[in-house]
Amino acid sequence: MKRTLVNILIVAATVAIVFGLDKVVSRLQNDPSLHAGYPVRILMLALIAVIAAVSLNLVNGFTGQFSMGHAAFYGIGAYTGAALTVFAQKQLFGHILAIGEETGWWLSSGVLLLAMLVGGLAAALTGFVVGLPSLKLRGDYLAIMTVGFNMIVVVIANNLKEMGGAAGFNGVYVGDTLIGIPPLTTFFWVALVAIAVVVLSINLRRSVHGLAFESIREDEIAAEAMGIPTTRYKVTAFVLAAFIAGAAGALYVHFDLRVSPADIDFIVSINFVVMVVLGGLGSVSGAVIGAILLTVLPEALRMNGSYRLVIYSIMLIVLMLVRPQGIFGRDEIGRAWMLKQVQGTKTLPARISGWTASLFDRFAHRRLSS
């Protein structure tokens, strides 16, 4: 009873804090004299990437399956969500919105949640159809299946004339007026959904179902021998991840107010995979840090001009070289992790020398073993 009360208080406090931050962010976003649109945009894109990466971690990290087509689900969510708020705009809002027209907080939030739900369900449904046959098999089939699936979705988007085809979708023209995608996504909802997905993931990991996911990753045959219905669990993880990615897509499209086949291409899927692997496969904290890093880093390096992509790639390579298990490995940030960090703390010079030594060791070891 007491625990429930504490939980309710924590949730209420989180919502209140996010709501307060939302006021600050929307002020930054809407006042051009503050010149903050660019950092706010990167913040929003990073948070949306966090949602997508954490959802992919359910499949690639927890369950140990290798999905390489996550952008397809993201895209399905984005296209479905946008279709809903554009083609049914009159029914949802009562009239066609002018560009930049404000609607009430409750109405726009309600429509956004509906779009996320519809986008998520559409993605989950296709995830089920794609996942069921391929997840019955063991091995790398899923990787190939999902790559193919991603390509199919891009081809369909390219040929979806009603939604802009290759040029992308930002609404439909009726005569010369544009029925645009309404700007429903606020910092409040993005941050709240990101927090919710992270908490859900961490709790899932600690639950019986989470353990079942992880047992499949460790040894599928042993898991099956222990009586775990592996296919069912694999499909569950896959469909859940697809649902969350679809919702993230709906959030994205109502933030950027456009979507095109180029946004959901295979390369975007690879980017999601890199986020999860970089952070540490199987670590929720890792997926979060990976998503933020991969969104912020390319922008932060922009001042270096054409060397940007070189520096960026070298940073990724170095990180993977010194830490192949990803930034967090399978750990989560928490009390145990903190304690581990404090134990055996060395001075900075000692660390640098240790790091150099290990790099040498590593190369020498590679040389010998190959």
Binding site: P32, M303, L319
Partner: protein, 399 residues
């Protein structure tokens, strides 16, 4: 030795470095520079990197020319370019950065219509004029009154080829073969039919196919039965090659005509010589003997180590020159602040008033829709070369 320790150290260091860089990159918003800053965005890496790099070369050449003549109102013009990797969300991000952090007064870009359409709302919102040198999709300039384009839109080419067919090839009858799965193709076909009939010609056959079709015997047989003087095929190069081969194998020998969708070396491979002597329209030709074009080509080669300017470079050069001309026309701001909203509105009006600008891609006038009214060139296929045949002006096409 202690791998996980060093890795941990790195894992803390990397995000910290990233955060520090980002904060450093923002450096407290736009600095009121006394110069004139033009923003440019394009794909300098990624799938369409050739578009972006050619555009950049064209822009830089125009800027260098202006600065060597003393700049605008005695001030040097600077250009800042960001790479969007050909990705629409990145295009939007970099344009936001150009406007907010760097204080760009005007923005040039992109080639791909998708990317232009992604960034245009940012320019419109901040009231910063944007000129796209090469996005031909009709929807791009519909975003708002600060968005301009200095190339022609897709359907114009239909009128160009109709006029060329009647006036230069003396065609009385024509057939049209449309790819009904492409807006591009349908737009060109409609414009062709309209102009051709107005010029006194007769459309004797209309056939269609869908993208990905493999066989065109049925359509081309009925076209042949109608005995047209020319056949207009406004498709993309990947279909047109097979159409050409099928037409010749059926004994249909009249010229086939097309738009810039034909412009690819792949077409010559697929057509296997069947399109010899056929014509298509394009933005510009390096072979055009007009001294304006030849001077530009010579100067470009000199600046870029002998490399010939492609259509993207020529279009970007013209777009930049139009922008510079607009700066001259708008005059220096009384308070010396080029970045003020009043000045940008003045600049917008000056761009909108562009009339008979002498560009290397022809005389350019901006119409009420902020789209360019300008000539197209007609090229003829000879082996694997495109030879310049004629320039078709908008006034040759009855509306």
């Amino acid at each position: 030795m202690n791998l996980s320790r060093t890795g941990k150290w790195m894992s803390v260091a990397l995000p910290a470095v990233a955060a520090a860089l980002l904060i450093a990159g923002c450096h407290g918003g736009a600095t009121k520079s006394s110069g004139i800053l033009i923003g440019e965005y394009g794909a300098l890496s990624g799938d369409t990197a050739t578009f972006g790099t050619s555009t950049d070369k064209g822009v830089r050449m125009a800027i260098d020319e202006v600065n060597s003549k003393g700049g605008v109102g005695g001030k040097k013009v600077q250009v800042k370019v960001y790479d969007d990797q050909g990705l629409p969300p990145q295009a939007k991000t970099v344009v936001t950065k150009l406007i907010e952090q760097d204080g760009a007064i005007a923005v040039l870009g992109e080639v791909a219509s998708t990317n232009s359409m992604a960034a245009a709302p940012e320019c419109q919102k901040s009231k910063v004029p944007m000129i796209t040198p090469a996005s031909t999709n009709v929807a791009v300039t519909k975003t708002g009154d600060y968005i301009f384009r200095t190339c022609f839109i897709d359907p114009f080419q239909g009128g160009v080829m109709a006029s060329f067919a009647t006036k230069s090839l003396h065609a009385k009858t024509a057939a049209v073969l449309t790819d009904v799965s492409q807006d591009y193709s349908k737009g060109l076909a409609a414009a062709f039919k309209n102009t051709f009939t107005r010029l006194g010609g007769k459309i004797v056959a209309e056939e269609s196919y869908e993208k990905g079709a493999a066989d065109y015997h049925a359509q081309l047989s009925s076209i042949q039965a109608a005995k047209p003087d020319v056949v207009f095929v406004p498709g993309y190069y990947n279909n047109v090659g097979a159409i050409g081969r099928t037409a010749r194998s059926l004994g249909l020998t009249v010229p086939l005509l097309g738009g810039d969708g034909w412009d690819s070396d792949k077409l010559f491979e697929a057509a296997q010589g069947s399109l010899e002597g056929c014509y298509f329209s394009n933005h510009y030709s390096i072979e055009n003997k007009d001294p304006r074009v030849q001077e530009f080509v010579a100067a470009y080669r000199k600046q870029n180590g002998g490399e010939s300017p492609d259509a993207m470079a020529a279009l970007a050069y013209d777009a930049t020159k139009i922008l510079i001309a607009a700066f001259d026309k708008a005059g220096s701001p009384a308070d010396g602040d080029y970045s003020s909203e009043e000045y940008r509105a003045k600049l917008r009006d000056a761009i909108a008033a562009t009339k008979d600008f002498k560009g290397v891609t022809g005389d350019i006038t901006l119409g009420p829709d902020r789209d360019a009214i300008k000539p197209a060139v007609v090229l003829q296929i000879h082996g694997s070369e495109r030879r310049f045949v004629a320039t078709v002006n908008p006034k040759d096409i009855p509306l």
